[in-house]
C-alpha cells in the first residue's frame, strides 16, 4: 500500500493524522458549511451584518418552509424528477441494447459505430445548440419536459453505450456461446442470459445519469423557460431573483436543489463510484 500505512509508522504520526484529517475536511467543505449555516439564520442577521457570527436564532423551519410553501421551488423539483427519471430509463434501455450489440457481435462496422458514440459524447454542447433548439421547436416540444427528455436520452446514450459495451466485453463469452448451441434466439440471450448479469452496470449507470441530468443547466436554459417545465437548476436562478439579497432563503433553496443527487450518492455510493471509475483500473 502506498503511502506507507500509519500502522507501520510511529504512533505520533497516527495522532497527527487523526487531528489533521477533520481539519482538512472542514477546510475543504468550508464554502458548503457556510451555506448550510446561512440557511438556518434569520433574516435579521443579514440586515445586522451578522454574517459569520452565531445565528441569533435557529430558523430552519421558517426558511425551508418559505422555500417549500412560498415559492415555485416544489414545482421545479417536480419538473426535475419528471425530466430525470424518464431520461434515466430511456438512456439505460437504449444503451443496454446498443452495448449488447457492440459487445457481443463481431462485424465490420462495430468499432466505427462504437467510436461514433464515444466521439459524440465528447462533442461541445454549443455545436448542437442551435440545431437541437430548432428541431425541438419544429417538433412543437420547445419549453416542454418531453423535449428535454428526448435530447437527454439521445446524448446520454453515447456515454452509456461506451460503459455498457465495455462491461459486456468483460462478461464470460462462453455463456453466450453455450446458449447459442442450445438454439436459443439472440433476443432471448439478451433478455435471459446477458441482462441479469448486467445488473451492476444498470445500477451504476442509473445513479450516474440521474446525477448528470439533475445537475444539467445548459440544456435547461436552451430548451425551456418558466416554472411549468424548467428543472430546479434553472429554476434556482428565478428563485434567487425572487428573493434577491435574502441570503438565508437563497441558501436554503440551493441546499434543497442540491439534495436529491447528494442523497442518491450516499444511498448508492458503491454503484456510483463503480460507474465513475470504470476504466480507472486495469
Amino acid at each position: 500500500m502506498f503511502p506507507t500505512p500509519l500502522e507501520k509508522r510511529p504512533a505520533s504520526a497516527k495522532t497527527v493524522y487523526q487531528i489533521v484529517l477533520p481539519l482538512a475536511l472542514i477546510a475543504w467543505l468550508l464554502p458548503l458549511i457556510a451555506v448550510a449555516v446561512f440557511s438556518i439564520k434569520p433574516a435579521a442577521d443579514f440586515t445586522n451584518a451578522n454574517y459569520w457570527g452565531m445565528p441569533s436564532s435557529f430558523d430552519f423551519f421558517e426558511n425551508y418552509g418559505q422555500v417549500f410553501f412560498n415559492s415555485d421551488m416544489p414545482r421545479y423539483l417536480l419538473n426535475s424528477v419528471f425530466i430525470t427519471v424518464p431520461t434515466v430509463i430511456g438512456a439505460v434501455t437504449l444503451s443496454a441494447m446498443a452495448g449488447f450489440a457492440l459487445g457481443v457481435y463481431r462485424f465490420k462496422a462495430n468499432i466505427w459505430i462504437f467510436f461514433m458514440f464515444v466521439a459524440g459524447n465528447f462533442v461541445p454542447f454549443q455545436i448542437l445548440m442551435v440545431p437541437v433548439r430548432d428541431l425541438t421547436l419544429d417538433l412543437g416540444l420547445y419549453n416542454t419536459k418531453t423535449g428535454l427528455v428526448l435530447f437527454h436520452i439521445a446524448f446520454q446514450t453515447g456515454f452509456c453505450t461506451l460503459f455498457m459495451r465495455n462491461f459486456i466485453r468483460a462478461l464470460p463469452f462462453e455463456l453466450i456461446e453455450a446458449a447459442r448451441v442450445e438454439g436459443i434466439s439472440e433476443i432471448r440471450i439478451f433478455w435471459y442470459v446477458v441482462l441479469p448479469l448486467m445488473k451492476p452496470a444498470l445500477a451504476a449507470l442509473s445513479v450516474l445519469i440521474f446525477t448528470f441530468i439533475w445537475n444539467d443547466y445548459f440544456w435547461a436554459v436552451v430548451l425551456t423557460q418558466g416554472p411549468e417545465s424548467q428543472p430546479v437548476t434553472a429554476g434556482i436562478t428565478a428563485f434567487n431573483s425572487q428573493f434577491r439579497a435574502m441570503y438565508h432563503l437563497m441558501s436554503a433553496g440551493s441546499i434543497v436543489a442540491a439534495l436529491p443527487p447528494v442523497a442518491m450518492f450516499f444511498l448508492m455510493q458503491k454503484h456510483f463510484i463503480a460507474g465513475l471509475t470504470l476504466g480507472a483500473v486495469k
Binding site: L94, A98, P124, Q126, M129, V181, N215, A257
Partner: protein, 309 residues
Amino acid sequence: MSDAALPRTDTDRSYWQRNQQTLAPWLFLAPAILFFAFYVIMPVFQSFNLSLYDWDGLGTKEFVGLRNYEDLYWEYKDGDAFYTSLQNNLIWLVLYLLAIPAGLFIALFLNQTVTGIRLYKSLFFFPFVISQVVVGLVFTWFYDPAFGILNVVLGWVGLGPVNILGNEHTVTYGIILAGLWPQTAYCMILYLTGLNAVNPEQIEAGRLDGAKGWRMLWHVVLPQLRPATFIAFVVTIIGALRSFDLISIMTGGGPFGSSRVLAYYMFEVALSEYGFRMGYGAAIAVVLFAIMMVFITYFLWSMYREEKR
C-alpha cells in the same frame, strides 16, 4: 460458426433464424443509432452548414460564405470578445489540469485505514455531486467583497478586501478555482480507486530497493496509475472546454466580458439579449468543436490502440 453445430439444415429454417446473428446487432442498435444520429450527429453537420449563413433564428437565412469566420478573425486581430474568449479557454485548459495533481494529492492523503475513513472519502467527494449552479452560487458568496469568507480570512492577516469577481484580471482565475473544487474531487476518486489496485508486491520490492517518498511515487506507483491518469485527463480536458454553468452563474461573462469563454460567448451571441445571430454563433461553436476535435482524436486513437492489443 455455431451454425454448423445445429442439427437442422438451412432450408428448414426461416430467414430470421438463418440470419439472426447478422441481423440481431442491427436490431439492437437501431433505436440508439436513430436517437443519436437525430440529436447529436446531424446537428453537428447542421451547425457547420449554418456557420456559412447569416440568420436571426426566424427570418430567411442569407448565405454569406466564410464571412462569419472572417469576422471572427478580425475580432481576434483587434483583441475583441473572440480573442478574450479564446485566451480564457486556454487559461481554463491549462489551470484546470491542476485538478489532476491536486486529486492525486488528496487521494494519497486519504489512502489510509483509520476509523471512519470511508465517510471521509465520501465527504471529500461531495463537491462533485452538487450541481455546478450551486457550486457557482456558493463560490460567489465565498468571494463576496462585503461578507465573503475569503475576505474575512484575509482580514485576519491584515489583507484585503479583494473583489475577485469584480476585477477583470482576477475573475477568470476565481471562476476556475470554483471549477477546480468539484473537478479535484472527481480526480481524487479516480486515483483512490486506482491506488486500491496498485500491486503491493511491487511496492514492497521498491521498498527493498530503497525507494521511498517521491521516488517511489514517480517510478513505482504512478506508472501503475496510468489508466486513472488517462481518464482524469480526458474528463478534465472535456470539463475545461465545457465550462459554461459557472461563468453563467458567477459573472454572466463580466465584468466587461472579461470572463467569457467560447462556450459562453457562443451562447451570448446566439441566444441572449445581444441578439439572435445564429450563424455567427454556429461559427464560434465550430471553432470550439475544432479545438475539442484535437483532443477527441487523441482520445479515440489511444482507445483504438488499447482495442488492438
